[in-house]
């Protein structure tokens, strides 16, 4: 095994051995004592930002914990938390921890079936549900969840007539807790003090690109050390603020909105509703911001669409200053010297274009922005950096409590994911798979020793499942693909589907791509167009359409996608090792890939195996030379009902510069 070891930072245990709080409830007590009146949470409700300070949070969490104690929650129990980001649900997690139980946040948009799996896998005894919809989902599962005893709901709306024997109103439960006597308080005190850094802090289910989700057990030490390191890495402090809008079940949200927030004491703001997100972002103006690439893509697409509709003067001004930003903006952010005239012009641009634009996007106050989860398009990445937004990349996973690598300021590049985070060691094995060892590395997969053994190997090294290379000299890590997805085509050429897919997805018109080619002669692709971008283009070009399906089948849309593929093929052709990945044939799918149909994970990652199975006939047609194929697909609506949509899809060959399509040659 060829090992490249990078930066091993052994912890001086002095800082930890002392009285440093080693659990989230202890951090809460510390914050409530040291800065009681500083804001801890904000939430927009009834049109006004309501806030809680640390002292209030401590009181509410305590009351709730006492209530839970009264209901009979014991240490080691699992408690599901289901709902959108709301301060009281975050507080519920801490209350659960105070009692010694383990919070298990669940994706709120999970269909009932997925939710049932998670709840039964961890044998949750209690569940917190945000509203009626979530309560219904939990109750629906009823008999298949024998371990579930009590459900606490936050928003009582619509539940007046529900049977209350197992259902509790959040606030009523708090009142019940407040009425508890001294004995209960002492008991709670004991439970909080009885926990240490090796106790479980939270259990998070991985999105599961393959098969069933796995429950990742993270200890207090995992979360608190990772949070502390991340705060120190970027100088995040009490003065920062975040907007919590990503799913609570996702490890990133737990680290940012709980771990780092409680460690450094900054304020977490929760949006009013999903649909008011952009408005809320603008009003809060967070200084520390995290978003997966697709959010940045959507923002950029919407800006570009609106600029297309703007007047000529505005359009020209925008283009002029964006050209300037593209040329000098990123350098300016990296602290490289600029000429006096460029400095002046950039300042002018800040006044007329960049400033107002950042304000509209709600990114004016961003000090540190992170993107992760997927590769981000270099154009998109530099767009934000050139505006003066300090957007950086990080690489992480649930099992690592997020952080594996991060980009330090002034070493930010579009094509790497940065250097190992503080306290993290990295090595690359012979197969090219990235392994790491860190204080954040998870304890185990819950009730799954086999997977734990497979992933967490001797010496505490964790296999990421990603193939990557460490850049000589700089120590930056580059991720190529999922290790098991990297394959060979029939004639032995390298096949890295994700790499090609990402290149295609960087075109705003293309939303999702699935490339096939492992063990085949040539590569082919299924394409999803981006309805917003292509729809707008269709509107401007007077192309009428009634649905996604109709637009996707339009010959001009096909032509446009074909040009994009040709462009990507050309750039792949330039690199001999990747020339085998060029796409020879493609079709545009008649429906958008959807997590409800199991085609994507909840974090919108493509589930390759399932798509291969589901679209088998289409893939066969891609390889048998047919010109079109009949497709019938089952779709699942959000309420779980199923229907089918069918269409005849055109298959196109892509012309490769200098050679004929392999298939046509064969035919």
């Amino acid at each position: 095994m060829s090992e490249i070891q990078v930066e091993t930072r052994t912890e001086s245990d002095a800082s930890r051995a002392g009285n440093a709080p080693d659990s989230i409830p202890k951090l809460l007590a510390r914050n409530a004592a040291s800065r009681p009146s500083a804001p801890a949470y904000r939430e927009k409700e009834f049109g006004i930002w309501q806030s809680w300070n640390w002292a209030e949070v401590a009181e509410e969490v305590n009351a709730l914990a006492l209530g839970l104690l009264d209901l009979g929650l014991v240490a080691g129990d699992h408690v599901a938390i289901i709902g959108r980001n709301r301060p009281r649900l975050y507080m519920a997690m801490v209350a659960v921890q105070s009692v010694g139980a383990v919070p298990v946040p669940v994706y709120q948009d999970a269909v009932a079936d997925e939710m049932t799996y998670v709840l039964s896998h961890c044998s949750a005894r209690f569940a917190f549900a945000g509203d009626q919809e979530q309560v219904d989902k939990v109750l629906e599962a009823g008999d298949s969840l024998p371990s579930l005893e009590q459900v606490v709901f936050l928003d009582p709306r619509g539940m007046r007539k529900y049977d209350r024997t197992r259902l509790h109103d959040y606030r009523e439960l708090q009142d019940r807790g407040r009425a508890n006597g001294e004995a209960a308080r002492a008991e709670l005190e004991d439970r909080i003090n009885g926990q240490g850094e090796s106790d479980t802090c939270v259990m998070l289910y991985t999105s599961g690109t393959t098969g069933r989700p796995k429950g990742v057990v993270l200890s207090n030490r995992n979360i608190i050390e990772s949070s502390r390191n991340a705060c120190e890495f970027d100088g995040v402090g009490a003065g920062d603020s975040v907007l919590a809008y990503l799913p609570m079940a996702w490890v990133g949200d737990f680290i940012f909105s709980v771990g780092q927030a409680y460690w450094s004491g900054f304020c977490v703001a929760c949006p009013e509703s999903e649909s008011t997100l952009n408005q809320d972002l603008r009003e809060i103006g967070p200084s520390y911001y995290f978003a997966p690439p697709r959010i940045f893509e959507q923002m950029l697409t919407s800006v570009m669409i609106r600029m297309e509709d703007a007047g000529r003067f505005k359009r020209r001004m925008f283009r002029h200053f964006m050209d300037l930003a593209r040329r000098v903006g990123a350098d300016r952010l990296d602290g490289k010297p600029l000429s006096g005239i460029d400095r002046f012009r950039y300042r002018l641009g800040e006044l007329f274009v960049y400033g107002p634009l950042k304000n509209t996007l709600g990114l004016s106050r961003i000090r540190i922005g992170y993107t992760a989860g997927e590769a981000i398009g270099p154009e998109i990445f530099t767009f934000y950096r050139s505006l003066g937004i300090n957007l950086k990349q990080l690489y992480g996973q649930t099992e690592a409590s997020v952080f594996i690598t991060q980009q330090p300021d002034r070493e930010v590049r579009a094509d790497t994911v940065g250097v190992p985070s503080p306290g993290v060691e990295i090595k690359i094995d012979d197969a090219g798979e990235v392994h790491y060892r860190s204080p954040g590395a998870f304890v185990e997969y819950f009730r799954n020793p086999e997977s734990t053994r497979e992933t967490k190997r001797e010496g505490g090294w964790v296999a990421t499942g990603d193939a990557g290379v460490l850049e000589a000299g700089t120590g930056h890590l580059k991720i190529i693909d999922r290790a098991k997805d990297v394959g060979k085509t029939a004639d032995g050429q390298l096949f890295a589907p994700k790499y090609v897919e990402n290149k295609l997805k960087f075109f705003p018109n293309i939303l999702e791509v699935v490339v096939f080619g492992a063990g085949r002669d040539v590569c082919t692709a299924l394409i999803n167009i981006d309805l917003t971008a292509v729809g707008n283009w269709a509107e401007r070009n007077n192309i009428p359409y009634a649905s996604y399906q109709e637009l996707a089948a339009h010959p001009e849309v096909y032509g446009m996608v074909e040009r994009h593929i040709e462009e990507v093929n050309e750039s792949l052709g330039r690199d001999p090792s990747l020339a085998g990945c060029r796409i020879h044939r493609f079709l545009i799918l008649h429906k958008e890939l959807d997590a409800d149909d199991g085609e994507l994970t909840r974090t919108r990652k493509v589930r390759r195996r399932i798509i291969e199975e589901k679209y088998g006939p289409l893939i066969t047609a891609l390889y048998d030379g047919s010109r079109e194929v009949f497709a019938e697909t089952e779709v699942t609506y959000e309420d779980g009902r199923k229907g089918t949509i069918s269409a005849i899809l055109e298959i196109r060959d892509v012309r490769l510069a200098g050679e004929d399509s392999g298939l046509r040659r064969a035919a």
Binding site: L139, Y162, S273, T276
Partner: protein
């Protein structure tokens, strides 16, 4: 004469509840059985045209009462009679235990009956917030000059009303369009705003004229949910006209069926569904 199309036993059955065992109590919705509004032998004519003919039915407190019938059956006229906009030539109207005479427009506005319209009647240039605020108008006490000066009680009053309006915005989940001019909103949302304005008046009787016309399935589901929730949360008595039979049968506690200005059926959705006169009216049996 179809005055007594069928005898009505005065009971309200709970809507079929399939969710037994899911924690939902299987008890009747909050109807106390008290009659809020009663029409007795109503006949309404416009010149030679008789829009409603000797129709009798009542609306009980806390129920959802649907009025259905083919086009031109006189449904909207009935709604207009209920809220006092039309005055029938014959018959009596009893509202909240008292017989009601001919009303002046301001009396109509103040009697506690709010409604939405078949063809949306909002102020298109005003925001969602302002539109719903107009629903509070009848509840504002300070006069125009005090409001202009926006001082003392007027300021306090506006804050109170704004709070009530925000509760409704939250209830109807339209926070994202709070500041959007209504004219720019899609049809389904405009309908929702209109419902919001009607709710803002805190009516004791809410009339909905085809709340789901022109909506797609998803919008209809949302609207149904809101109607049920309004009934559930605020205990508001609701009378609604709707064409979508599926929706009506799911929502309503009791249904009045009209055809050619007459009541041809009255009862629970199940009763109505098996009523021969109703089936004939809908399947198009030849009229004499």
């Amino acid at each position: 004469m179809i005055r007594n199309g069928r005898s009505f036993d005065g009971r309200v059955d709970a809507p079929a509840d399939s969710g037994a065992g899911t924690g939902r109590a299987a008890e009747t919705p909050g109807t106390s059985g008290a009659v809020v509004m009663e029409l007795r032998g109503i006949t309404l004519r416009f010149g030679g045209v008789t829009a409603i003919r000797e129709t009798t039915f009542d609306i009980q407190e806390g129920e959802i009462r649907a009025i259905i019938g083919p086009n031109g059956a006189g449904k909207s006229s009935v709604l207009n009679v209920i809220n006092g906009f039309y005055h029938p030539q014959e018959g009596e109207i009893w509202y909240q235990g008292r017989q009601r005479g001919v009303l002046k427009p301001h009396q109509i506005a103040h009697q506690g009956i709010a409604r939405t319209f078949q063809n949306i009647a909002l102020f298109r240039g005003m925001t969602t917030l302002d539109n719903i605020m107009t629903g509070r108008l009848t509840r504002m006490k300070s006069g125009i000059f005090r409001q202009l000066a926006w001082w003392g009680p007027a300021e306090r009053e506006e804050t109170e009303h704004r709070e009530a309006v925000e509760q409704i915005i939250d209830f109807l989940e339209i926070q994202a369009i709070r500041k959007t001019p209504v004219g720019r909103l899609p049809y389904g949302l405009q309908k929702r705003v209109e419902l919001g304005r009607a709710l803002a008046a805190e009516p004791s009787l809410l009339l909905l004229d085809e709340p789901m016309a022109g909506m797609n399935v998803e919008e209809k589901e949302d609207m149904s949910r809101f109607i049920l929730d309004v009934n559930d949360e605020f205990g508001t008595t609701i009378a609604l006209i709707e064409h979508d039979m599926g929706v009506v049968m799911d929502l309503a506690d009791r249904v009045v069926v009209m055809d050619y200005g007459r009541k041809i059926g009255d009862g629970t959705p199940d009763d109505v569904r098996s009523n021969e006169a109703v089936i004939n009216a809908y399947l198009g049996v030849a009229h004499d």
